[in-house]
Amino acid sequence: MNFVRRSVLGIAAVSALALMSGLAAAAGEKITVITPYLAQPGTQFYVEAFQEKAKANGWEVNVVDTKGDVAAVISRLEDAANQKPAAIVINVDPSQVAAGLEAAKAAGVPVFGMDAGASPLLVTNVTSNGYSMAADTAAYVSNRINGKGNIVMFVFDAFPPVQQRGIIADAIFKNSPDIKVLDRVTPDVKDGGIADSRAKMEAILAANPDKGSISAVWAAWDQPALGALQAIEAAGRGGEGIVITGIDANPEARAAIGKGSNFEASMAQDFKGIGGAVADAVKRQIAGEKIVASVIYVPTRLITAANVGE
């Protein structure tokens, strides 16, 4: 019986594997994409756009999803480095996977970041410019209130990508002598940021009861903007013309902007553009070009009632 058992298992496993490896028939340049976050919508957009361009270039792309496991990204980087593909693309904080990046470097395999964070171990990182996104919305606020009035800011300085948005908005508001920042609030984000931002905004509204005492709310991301909107509407002050802006243009924010509420503007990142730009960078590298820029920015877009439906 053992012989039967042995044969059945051995043959089944090996033939299953042979079949699958046959599916991955060799084509052009091999590229490995490794991410722990494939289940997230943004990541799917990057990866699909990357694959589209890769197909046009005749590359063979292998997408590895470690399902939230960051240590597994290191392991898969080591495996991929062993196999020496033309390039590896990662979508995870490079400082957390430095061990794997060093293995790739030792093997001479270039690694590209897809909204990953800057690192000397990456050829380049393709992402959106947080500074310019904040500049666009802060300038929108400043222009909408004609450079005059009281502003509430929602910031989060503990997280570097959001912190850099805050300092740009600070600079723009400071540049208008008649704009006064009433409060620079750091909401508690444990519940996602909406509920606590609403509570904080309610307190600020209570402290400033007069019509026109608050001209605008600038938020470093969408959740506090949505919380502020809820507070303003619940207080019956939606008609005062308080201008609210966020960043990220998530579906909830788009809905609020589309309705013509106080939430007037947000910034959309071009996820597909990021995926495509990574493919372009890989192509340049394969062609032998030396990529100097350690970060490549893909343009973002101001979303208002005028273009939210597009």
């Binding site: 019986m1 053992n2 039967v4 058992r5 042995r6 059945v8 298992l9 051995g10 089944a12 496993a13 090996v14 299953a16 594997l17 042979a18 699958m20 490896s21 599916l23 991955a24 091999k30 490995t32 063979e60 292998n62 997408v63 590895v64 999803d65 470690t66 399902k67 939230g68 496991d69 960051v70 240590a71 597994a72 290191i74 392991s75 898969r76 080591e78 495996d79 991929a80 062993n82 196999q83 904080d93 400082s95 957390q96 996977v97 430095a98 061990a99 293995a103 030792a106 503990a158 984000v189 444990k190």
Partner: protein, 324 residues
Amino acid sequence: MLKSFQTYGTLVCFFGLLLFFWVMLPGTFMTGRNLINISQQVSMLAVTAFAMTMVMAMGDFDLSVGSMASLAGIVAAVTFQLTGSVPLGIAAALLVGIAGGALNGFLVSYLGILPFVATLGTLTILSGTAFLVSGGKTIFGGDIPAGFSAIAKGGIPIWPIWSSVDQVLILPNLTIIAAIALFIIWFILQKMVFGRHVYAMGGNAEAARLAGINTRRTRLIAFCITGLGASIAGLMYAARVASANPTQGSGLMLDAIAAVFLGMTISRHGEPRVLNTLIGVLMIGILSNGLTQLSVDSYVRDILVGTIIIAAVAVGSVERLLRN
């Protein structure tokens, strides 16, 4: 050890896989460097699975090992933030591991709650604690001392035996830690009276109790060892990624149980043996490594692991049916 090396399907499958990847990946799979990579890649899972073997040998389960590993990493990182001391951080994490294991053991052996329910409860409690202590954030960068992450980077050079390829080969510290854990659990389960008690309870808990074994204390200690093992795995994980995140250990639990099950299909009477668990761990690691190198979709690994477990058990059942 030789006894368990009887010819069984899972073992044939294991060597079949090795052979398959060796043939399909000439020059990159069966190299000293790649085998050492695999040993390091599976080291965290290995420690968790070895510890899991301890409770599964009693016929119990510990579903909380993944949360325990996450919490251990967080506790170490927060201690680093507060004190800057690597030994203190490691000690705090290990203490939390033993305490968590003791809680599981108390619930199961003294309150008599089913292990599945008790450890499902502690899974949730430990995970919630990890989120609470960390504020839900990933702790990384300057908060993690270089001396701690260096543990995962370092190792012992083992040239010149296998160094025909590129540079000097280094046996990673993580692999060494896993090997030590393997030896300790093997020694406890196979060489100590305590281990015989554990297996007796796995065979028939009531008979073991009537035979005079202090089953409550044995169970409590076994759960403590499992908790300690999970916290060691959590520390290894945190060192490897040089950061601590409140969910980072969660993938370890199911893979550890799968590894023990794969090992059980090799044992003569289907009981968990830690050396067989090692085969299970290696199968999972080899599949992940080999399939990545072959550019096969990573989800296929999960399907194969599950299929192998079911096939191995099913072949045994069919055999028994035919015999009767």
